[in-house]
Symmetry: C2
Subunit: 271 residues, 2 copies
């Protein structure tokens, strides 16, 4: 792990990242030193910096630090965290922001081949995502909603949870975006009011022209022919069941997107 470029595992206890969750992060999968979605991660990070009025970091520097942290690992997940740095007490920002930059590499989480082959089951979370257009889309550090949703189940047979907004629309999984195929049309929930504009979601939208980003009422989602998740770490996860609702898994669209994921240079699970 490095903090502001130096090997370190600690940050100031009064960093605004700790005090207020005042910052952003990206979680980036690398394979053999390549991160196929890197430009999309950097674009989202820059957009988040603009939204939160944080200084935009030097992406070449971030890449050097990420590669140094990975070392000779074949596969890794790099988390880049940017905060508004150390501040005085109170919400007002320091006159001169000295951002804190944390770059850390972890092993790829265990990804069972069966997830891709047979699809996964989703837990139906009761936690709702609140509407907050000023923070929707960006990957900021205020993640208690996701923590609460993820804490609702510990059955390892459920690989993810389905989370709705307060209006009863399906929005996403706890850490992945959602796609549904309904009467041959591909739909993904809009992320203008809540949710995260996932990097792999953007990749799917670019690869599949004609996807509708719109409200997706839960009942409509559960009646879909096909449901799958997108994640920059786990790729495309076909969903075979949400509660009693069953889906073709992998369906035709998920299969094509899994193929696309592999063509980007990712492997389906561990290398």
């Amino acid at each position: 792990m490095r903090v502001n470029g130096e090997p370190a595992a600690l940050i100031a206890a009064n960093d605004r990242g700790v005090m207020y969750g005042d910052g952003l992060f990206e979680t980036i999968r690398f394979e053999r030193g390549n991160a196929p979605l890197w430009p999309r991660h950097m674009a989202r990070l820059a957009h988040g910096c603009e939204r939160l009025k944080l200084p935009v970091p030097d992406t070449a520097l971030l890449q050097r630090e990420a590669l140094a942290e990975i070392g000779d690992r074949e596969q890794a997940v790099v988390r880049i965290t940017l905060t508004r740095g150390v501040g005085t007490r109170g919400y007002a920002q320091p006159a001169a922001v000295q951002a804190t930059r944390i770059v850390a590499a972890s092993p790829l989480p265990r990804l069972e081949p069966a997830m891709y082959r047979d699809g996964i089951r989703l837990y139906r979370c009761q936690t709702r995502l609140g509407d907050q257009p000023q923070l929707a889309g960006i990957k900021h550090l205020n993640r208690l909603e996701q923590v609460l949703a993820r804490a609702e189940w510990d059955d390892p047979a459920m690989a993810e949870g389905l989370v709705c907004d307060t209006h009863g629309n399906a929005i996403s999984a706890t850490a992945a975006n959602l796609f549904a195929v309904i009467d041959g049309n591909v739909v993904t929930p809009g992320v203008e009011r809540c949710g995260v504009a996932g990097v792999m979601r953007a990749e799917v939208l670019a690869a599949l022209p004609g996807v509708a980003a719109r409200n997706l009422p839960l009942a409509e989602c559960l009646a879909a022919d096909e449901v799958f998740l997108s994640s920059s770490v786990r790729g495309i996860l076909p969903v075979r069941a949400v509660g009693d609702a069953r889906f073709a898994a992998p369906g035709t669209v998920a299969r094509a997107m899994l193929q696309h994921w592999c063509e980007l240079g990712f492997s389906m699970g561990q290398a």
Copy 2:
């Protein structure tokens, strides 16, 4: 500053407080070694721990650490931060949570006597607080809404900002609760959907039977006879203006509550 009981100024960069804002805090004013609102702070902290399923800390231990940090300072503000501690990557909670406890003392912020004597002006923030009943009321570490609202102005003539919810109700200041006196009735916005259930707000509610905690549409707030803020650090702040709207400052109720604040053992500003 101390971290988990030891003098320290650093915490793990992969603490869940930094990674997700996964924790709570209290900001407690001390005068001559006393914190008159201490029991209310501890009650809110315990309630927050219950809501977020965090282990409830030993309040006697927190008090010893707070006093040790204050030393011989006449007046101080102690911030206690509790996080879910270091975790592995991902929203799922570690099997055994080892909470992180940060206790830090700061000087009392500069409080001008004129604020109490003549009232303050509020900036009208455009940032809206999103509805999230699962997090409303508690003082959690996800404070980007407050950071965004506070960043809207830097005119030092504005001591605070007025923040609304997404329905157009006045909710609070960026770091204080709100009271309005309307036709002789005292009203404070409910904090079941958004906002923080302030400790000094609870003290005012206990001291003034009959206060209505309800929706307070902005227009109704701006037409009030009297408006004041409550804060556990700054006490009672009479409001004399929000934009073009003018109020009696201090009005009768604010004057009584300022009196109550002093009777609790606080001074009106610096000792």
